[in-house]
């Protein structure tokens, strides 16, 4: 009893954490579901069918493929631009630096429906109403991923001092050698984390995409459309895979990080 009282906060915290995994358990469970009817979302029986026939509805795999392409391209561009901006904000002084923080912060704080509808009105007024599709989705995704990249990379950069870089310079490393051999490897975990975050934000976005996609259908839009008539259980296979893959990547990045820190501490 005393033990429980002493650890009450930790126990409650772990309970909250466990609760956040309950819907994930449902997603995994439903990926093995053999539905009796499409109208009710419940577990009717076990099957591997969904896993072995992932593209039973080709429309789902088309949507998935579109989301992956948009996600990769948006992640690439957002990570590149965001990383450059983070370097500028931490390492350089320029006119408007402090007010630019607001420009970075606001897109993260604005409701998606407002971001999506304002972007749509821009496209319509610019005469692109007929060209809504891949590229407008891409533009929107880079826009809302950028701030998250800047913030993530910036916190990594701000957390390290430049003594190692100064040491490299003292040892006659050229600026580019210093950057690629010292600075970049140290910031890389932050950049990778930012890229992972970007991809999952892009892959998961529904509200902004839905307004700016024209006739294209991304994976979340497919799920949305299917939800009215009952989703095919294969979407849960995708959900399970997303979960497993991202956890594996995050854990790998974290372990690698730890190993490096240990190696650094040992020297």
């Amino acid at each position: 009893m005393n033990w429980i009282r002493r650890h009450l906060v930790l126990i409650l915290g772990l309970l909250v954490l466990a609760y956040t995994f309950v819907p994930i358990a449902v997603v995994v469970l439903m990926s093995f579901n053999d539905p009796a009817t499409r109208n009710v979302y419940r577990f009717d029986g076990f099957t591997l069918h969904n896993w072995t026939n992932m593209c039973e509805d080709p429309a789902m795999c088309d949507a998935l493929w579109l989301s992956i392409r948009v996600g990769l391209l948006a992640t690439l561009v957002a990570t590149l631009l965001g990383t450059l901006a983070a370097f500028a904000l931490v390492r350089y002084d320029f006119f408007g630096r402090s007010s630019s923080n607001l420009l970075i912060f606001l897109p993260m704080a604005a409701p998606e429906i407002v971001l999506g509808s304002s972007l749509l009105t821009l496209f319509v007024q610019g005469g692109f109403a007929g060209q809504l599709g891949f590229w407008t989705i891409f533009i929107a995704h880079v826009m809302f991923c950028l701030s998250f990249v800047v913030v993530t990379v910036r916190s990594r950069l701000a957390g390290m001092d430049d003594t190692l870089e100064q040491a490299a310079a003292d040892l006659y490393a050229t600026p580019s050698q210093t950057f690629w051999r010292v600075t970049f490897p140290l910031v890389l975990p932050g950049i990778l984390g930012a890229a992972l975050l970007s991809f999952s934000l892009s892959f998961d976005d529904f509200i902004i995409t839905n307004l700016n996609s024209g006739s294209e259908t991304t994976f979340p839009m497919y799920v949305w459309g299917a939800a009215r008539v009952g989703v095919p259980m294969q979407v849960n296979v995708v959900g399970t895979l997303m979960f497993v893959i991202s956890v594996v990547i995050v854990v790998a990045v974290e372990l690698n990080n730890r190993r490096r820190q240990k190696a650094l501490a040992a020297t």
């Binding site: 906060v9 930790l10 409650l12 915290g13 909250v16 954490l17 956040t20 995994f21 309950v22 819907p23 994930i24 449902v26 997603v27 439903m30 979302y41 419940r42 631009l81 450059l84 901006a85 370097f87 500028a88 904000l89 390492r91 350089y92 002084d93 320029f94 630019s100 607001l102 420009l103 970075i104 912060f105 704080a109 409701p111 429906i113 304002s118 749509l120 009105t121 821009l122 319509v124 533009i139 826009m143 950028l146 001092d161 430049d162 998961d204 529904f206 509200i207 994976f219 979340p220 799920v223 939800a227 979407v235 995708v238 399970t240 997303m242 979960f243 991202s246 956890v247 995050v250 854990v251």
Partner: protein, 286 residues
Amino acid sequence: MADTTRRRGWVGYALFLPAAAWLLVFFVVPFYSLFATSLYDQSGSDFRGWEMTYEFGNYADAIEQYWQPLLRAILYAGIATLICLVLGYVLAYAIAFKSGRWKTLLLVLVIAPFFTSFLLRTLSWQLLLADDWYIVDFLQFLHILGPDDRLLNTPVAVITGLAYNFLPFMVLPLFASIDKIDHRLIEASGDLYANPVAAFFKVTWPLSLPGVVSGTLLTFIPAAGDYINAQLLGNTNTRVIGSVIEGQFTDANNSAIAASLSMSLMVIILVMVFLYIRRAGTEDLL
């Protein structure tokens, strides 16, 4: 913060320019387009074109017709934010102060569930809150719910979904704030005969306020614009403003009303945020 010296010169501009340009063109300028669209004559359409008539009456029309979904969205988001605050505080506090060497792992676990699709997570609640599932059965057994009461397709389900989906936005800023608190201050309050409850409300809570403020904002704002939860877990009487805006743009093809509603939502949120930050006394947060 590291004592890095900041260099001056054109390189800084060159590095910052691409991102800034992207945000200016696709984030700042669109607000002008949205504002302009909100003043169009409502009889226009994307096909026939829109006429700018400085129709400020659009706002009155929009609010008069849709004040209910607007109010509902703010109410649902507000309640969900409070639930997130309670759950998130317990979790963030436990991770910051009680987890020892497991801290990083637990932080990873906090975000892990949210790597699965938002829509699929929300659909999961359709199963969890279904009439014949254990949660409803259990609540009926406890007589909290009557025999014919249900959870799915009610406001309770919508709020449950919101409070679940936006939890990490609360936990992470809270954690960042609580983790920074100097433990010796809490010990000192104990030495001065404060009981744990008093120590919490006089020391820990005030010191974590920046995290509380940014956490509640980062939860409330997206939750107020969300309509996925209201649509998938609610019914026709739980329609929220986001869904109305989307419908006005696409199905109804009335961009003028949609834009007025979007502007109104943003202004209402900005005013609420401003008042809230002033009251919390943390203007330096932004």
